[in-house]
């Protein structure tokens, strides 16, 4: 579970930062950036509780 959450979490973080970088390089449209970022944000909050432990 932890490994799956970690993979999903990393993908979510990538989905948060890579699309804007692609937009900056004119490789992706803004609407797509917004959609991917929103889905990635949801994915992050699904994965993070299983990945990150709070001391």
């Amino acid at each position: 579970m932890h490994t799956a959450a970690k993979i999903l979490g990393l993908l979510a973080l990538a989905g948060t930062i890579v699309p804007p970088a692609l937009f900056m390089g004119s490789a992706l449209g803004l609407d797509a950036v917004k959609a991917i970022m929103f889905v990635s944000s949801i994915a992050w909050f699904v994965a993070a509780p299983f990945w990150m432990k709070v001391e």
């Binding site: 948060t16 804007p20 900056m24 390089g25 004119s26 970022m37 944000s41 992050w44 990150m52």
Partner: protein, 465 residues
């Protein structure tokens, strides 16, 4: 900026916290890694969306933003490392308990009241920031958003948005803040990336990567904040935490004072990268839409335009996760001040004050001033602890005088604290001194006064009485 660590000391009673009235034992000490994550998360908050654009509104130069923030944040980190962390690891006590040993229980209660009220205004600013994220969900014009020049509510819809968000925050605060604290912990890396994403999209829209040129104000822009102003702002916007010693409550768990370096994660990610990213958002609106920078654009509108719903989620969560524990702690502070007040009533009282503050955009829009005043009021207490810790023996004054004498009220502390603060407030209100210039001289004056008055007999009188 954040208030979370300060809150740990606000009432001296923290749900789930330990060792509030004793030294932290060896077995409870933590390695440095937990502090790096904590500081990174705590200093990427909703207010970051306001501070960056406010620098642009104040006409800050590119050199001030790039190098001034770098220097100011470095000084903040050094303060954490060589003052706060050193005292924390030597004493291993919370600020609250250490203060009680110096100033007495009754004076600490007074400090808590000041703390609680300042928390409420800060949480109010966060409610304001979060409320700006509500606007884009409604047809344009439904909620008139405040500008940087707004001090009064912009209309009924705005008031309702603030009440709705503030009420939700208060109701959650009634249940404690564990869940929200966890959400804040999980949000930290994602939130930071959303800030960076906003900047990348902005650069893409403007078709340049020349950040220096973008941050350079147009010719003729009035410069309301200088290089030194930026340095002092970034150094002292968390003055209550480092110089004011609120972070004793956190760093007392550190194995070594070197854990103080962990504050660099919060300063350079949250107070450097995130501020500059947020500043670029307004730069875009000024350049592409001809917006007057002194009026600005609300964070919700800018972030929604840049990265969409993910950004709005970030604005709400960033405001929520910092405002919620603030309301909870303010409630605890009020409960400590008013005997017989239930936790529920105290939290509702705190929530009501926060909502009232949030409805008035003045607190968020004057954030650059407010955090300076916040540090001016609370940082001097840290100077008294510094004198007690480092210089008491060499000066021949009693350490922990109230604890030695069993006194509940040490008047020397009250005089040493309030006299410089009163002078500073006079300078701010009557002579328009920049608020961030005040915490350092105020703290130095407070420390000197405490040493002089204690040496003159006040402190020893308390110790003997």
């Amino acid at each position: 900026m954040t208030v979370e660590t300060l809150e740990d000391d606000a009432a001296g009673v923290v749900a789930g916290s330990e060792y509030e009235r004793q030294r932290v034992p060896e077995g409870a000490l933590r390695g440095p890694s937990s502090f790096w994550g904590m500081y990174a998360g705590e200093h990427t908050a909703g207010t970051e969306f306001m501070i960056g654009p406010l620098f642009v509104a104040w006409g800050a130069s590119a050199a001030s933003l790039i190098f001034g923030l770098l220097l100011g944040n470095l000084l903040a980190v050094l303060t954490w490392r060589y003052l706060t962390a050193v005292i924390a690891c030597d004493e291993r006590l919370t600020l609250y308990y250490k203060m009680e040993r110096i100033a007495g229980r009754k004076l600490v209660a007074f400090y808590n009241l000041a703390n609680g009220l300042l928390f409420c205004f800060l949480a109010g600013a966060m409610i304001t920031v979060s409320a700006t994220a509500v606007g884009p969900f409604f047809p344009p014009g439904t909620i008139e958003m405040p500008t940087f020049q707004s001090t009064m509510p912009t209309g009924i819809a705005w008031i309702l948005a603030c009440i709705a968000i503030g009420t939700a925050m208060t109701l959650v605060a009634l249940k404690g803040y564990g869940v929200v604290a966890q959400v804040g912990h999980y949000s930290a890396p994602w939130m930071f990336l959303v800030f960076v994403a906003c900047a990348l999209v902005t650069l893409g829209k403007l078709g340049t990567t020349d950040v220096w040129a973008l941050l350079t104000p147009p010719p003729g822009t009035e410069q309301k904040i200088s290089f030194l102003g930026i340095v002092f702002f970034s150094w002292f916007c968390n003055a209550a935490m480092h110089l004011g010693m609120a972070d004793l409550s956190v760093l007392r768990f550190a194995k070594k004072p070197s854990a103080g370096w962990a504050s660099a994660s919060g300063m350079f990610l949250g107070h450097y990268v995130a501020w500059i990213c947020a500043a670029l958002l307004l730069v875009y609106w000024v350049r592409a839409h001809g917006v007057d920078p002194t009026k600005g654009v609300d964070p919700g509108t800018m972030v929604n335009d840049s990265v969409g719903w993910a950004g709005l989620l970030c604005v709400i969560i960033a405001g929520w996760t910092t405002a919620n524990p603030t309301i909870y702690r303010a409630g605890l502070a009020f409960q400590g001040m008013i005997p017989g007040l239930s936790r529920t009533a105290a939290t509702l009282l705190a929530g009501a004050i926060c909502i009232a503050a949030g409805i008035f955009p003045a607190f968020a829009m004057k954030l650059l001033d407010f955090v300076g005043l916040y540090g001016t009021v609370l940082a001097p207490i840290g100077a008294i602890i510094i004198v007690d810790h480092f210089f008491a023996d060499s000066l021949g004054i009693a350490r922990d005088p109230a604890a030695r004498s069993g006194s509940a009220f040490n008047p020397v502390v009250l005089i040493a604290w309030l006299l410089p603060v009163a002078v500073a407030m006079y300078g701010y209100w009557q002579h328009n001194l920049f608020a961030s210039y005040l915490p350092l001289p105020c703290a130095i004056a407070c420390g000197l006064l405490y040493a002089l008055l204690s040496r003159a007999g006040g402190g020893q009188a308390v110790a003997r009485s």
